[in-house]
Assembly symmetry: C2
């Protein structure tokens, strides 16, 4: 791979126009109901887990009280199956009265009072994927205004039950409609996922102008196979996808399933590391009420979050796919820093991978290396120093690197210090 | 499925002849190096993990000191890559002198001194799978005598680099040769795995007469996919495989990978539960020095071990494969007890599965139910009571059941009391 070419391409990022709402200059973080709670509407038998205002209030409490909000996890996002099966007399969407008896504005207040933001779900089409009322073209302005009136801060617009012509009209129209409400509402578009995710069917320049983030590919499932299929698809198509991302406009490989049932701890670390490489939105879909300490430690790793949230907002790439089934990923960060992820696709035992920074495209120089999961700073490397990393099966070793000259006396790198965390938490929209 | 037919078939089990060494009346338990440590012979760079006497002494210490031995985990088994590349002047196998400087007899004493047993590995063929000296037909008596002289308690005989004719001669010959040494050496045969694992290529009646256990299918890898492929193969072929098993002769679906890198906790519980259903040998291949408490709790679950080790020794079966991707497994146990495993192949969210014991083939009556992983005794069920179990994605719910009339006043069932644990630990061969 020609790394200089990649960097040359990266230099053109800022010229693309982003959605003009000023939101999500770094990838959004928060919690989204779908993967873990799906369309469970059986509140009689499963009151704690059904899609209801109680579930979202529970999760808001956890984000606010368990240290998530301070790290940037501020969105509480409703997904499908929240609404009544009928619009109201004025043609507006309304929540299911049994499951959301207080209504959405009250839930929004509950969430805002805790310094968090509320996301909601709609579907461009006759019905949502779960069969609830959809947003047909003639309803776009009504629904945008309803969400704004309710105090919603983000909309995920799915694409079931619409054709490509309707999507071509509808997704830009909703963007304008949201802007027209005067409320800052972040906009997540499922459009590309319905069009195969790739040019020429998908116009990423246009998407960057109308959406803050977009789902490119299949829904994640609670399995390692699902994570791998997503990582493979995004990596195989990185030349087309990587230039689309930047501050305010993000590729979305879908939710974090860390803390659910299907990933080992190694695999959980791998998802978190690879999502940071991809500058991916970090929406957890898990049960924050019962999360294990191990899962929490991975999701709350400050340096890892700082890397994901790097203000330069350049998406990383897979550099190498070795025959040994080791893969190396890289992402450039601000202040000449970078991150490397050494990823093992093996299923036997820890593999000792030997390389040097020079072989991975780094320029001549001295680099300080911090191991993101062990928390250890390692001896400085030159570009020609041979090193060996031991990578566990389905696991990663993740490094934060920077030219030695940039490190201060306290051993802290500027990129690690001025990460976004303070900025994103305080100026909350109410 | 006709359950009465299955029980009818089961009644004929005791008529098959087992290998005449009196060993392994219940499935063997212990630790085996292969899956976790493979053919790592790089003791210079990886002294703690390379195949060496130190590794086996470390693991023996852990089995003896961390509560494993008392639960029945008594075998410490060497796998491939232990030997020198050359036989000695007398034509005998010899261990690698750098990695086993004390020799095998000293290692055997170390292991016996701790109340444990030593297993070793050979290969019927010109070379082992890892390229070390194999046991050709003319070497069978020499090698059997060498192992006996060394104080070895078990032999796994692999089948790389031999053809089916040689295997047909060699596997029975080694059985006789082991018997002829006068030392009780348990015998694990990889033969069926090299012949597709199924009749007519494999004669399970003969295997039961010459081997204590046998590998039927592919090697396990450190991944959930690998566990699933094994469970599927054994279940798809259960009508052929189940009758082969019984006291002293066991199908071996390969090692437990619980505590390694590839399984989530749910998946770890599932492997342990399904291995108990299959009356499988419980050879852990993990690093007992660094095992997590969660993995340890699963591997040391006493009731689960008691079920695996049920003295009746009847292998269980998959009863149902639902369209919902729920599967139900069942194994009959002594004293009219039984175990049920409800297994979810889903990757979305916990699934509420509804059934009754009658639907699962249970006779009319009252049954007491103990949940093996939660440790809770549940309200008694009749065969017609409808129940609902919530099964996590890639997880199990495992029940121990018995007719209510058999439970004593102290709430203990006889099958749970007289499990094998005491019997297997005390009469250790030295």
């Amino acid at each position: 791979m020609d790394l200089s070419l990649a960097i040359y391409v990266l230099a053109f990022f800022p010229t693309t126009f982003a959605l003009d709402n000023g939101l999500m200059k770094t990838p959004p973080m928060g919690w989204l109901a779908w993967e873990r709670f799906r369309c469970d509407i059986d509140c009689r038998h499963d009151p704690k887990n059904c899609i209801s205002e109680r579930l979202f209030m529970d999760m808001a409490d956890r984000l606010a009280e368990d240290g998530w909000r301070e790290l940037g996890y501020v969105y509480i996002n409703i997904d499908d199956c929240w609404s009544s099966m009928e619009r109201d007399k004025e043609g507006r969407l309304q929540p299911d009265p049994q499951r959301f008896p207080g209504g959405i504005p009250k839930l929004a207040r509950y969430i805002h009072d805790r310094g968090l933001k509320l996301g909601i779900y709609g579907d461009l089409g006759t019905h949502t994927c779960g069969g609830y009322p959809g947003t047909t073209l003639d309803k776009i302005h009504t629904d945008a205004q309803t969400f704004a009136d309710w105090g919603v801060d983000m909309l995920k617009l799915d694409g079931c039950y619409s054709n490509s012509t309707e999507q071509e009209q509808g997704y830009p129209l909703m963007s304008k409609a949201l802007n027209a409400t005067g409320r800052l509402i972040a906009y997540s578009c499922s459009w590309p996922a319905y069009q195969g995710g790739l040019p020429p069917n998908v116009n990423y320049t246009q998407l960057g102008e109308i959406c803050n983030l977009w789902r490119n590919y299949d829904d994640i499932e609670d399995s390692w196979d699902s994570v791998l299929s997503i990582v493979d698809w995004f990596s195989d198509n990185q030349d087309l996808l990587q230039p689309a991302a930047g501050p305010g406009r993000w590729n979305d490989p879908d939710m974090l399933i860390i803390g659910d049932f299907g990933l080992s701890l190694e695999q959980s670390r791998s998802q978190m590391a690879l999502w940071a490489i991809m500058a991916a939105p970090l929406f957890m879909s898990n049960d924050l009420r019962t999360l294990s300490n191990d899962a929490r430690a991975i999701l709350q790793n400050k340096v890892l979050i700082g890397i994901n949230q790097d203000p330069m907002g350049v998406q990383g790439r897979r550099l190498l796919k070795e025959k040994t089934r080791i893969e190396v990923f890289w992402r450039p960060l601000s202040d000449s820093a970078s991150t490397l992820v050494f990823f093992s696709r093996r299923s036997d035992m820890p593999y000792r991978y030997r390389s040097s920074l020079g072989k991975l495209g780094y320029k001549a120089g001295n680099y300080k290396v911090y191991d993101v999961f062990t928390g250890k700073t390692m001896p400085a490397l030159t570009d020609t120093t041979n090193f060996t990393v031991s990578i566990n099966p389905s696991g990663v070793v993740m490094w934060f690197l920077s030219p030695t000259k940039l490190w201060g006396r306290e051993g802290e790198h500027p990129s690690l210090l001025h990460n976004h965390v303070e900025e994103i938490v305080h100026p909350i929209l109410l």
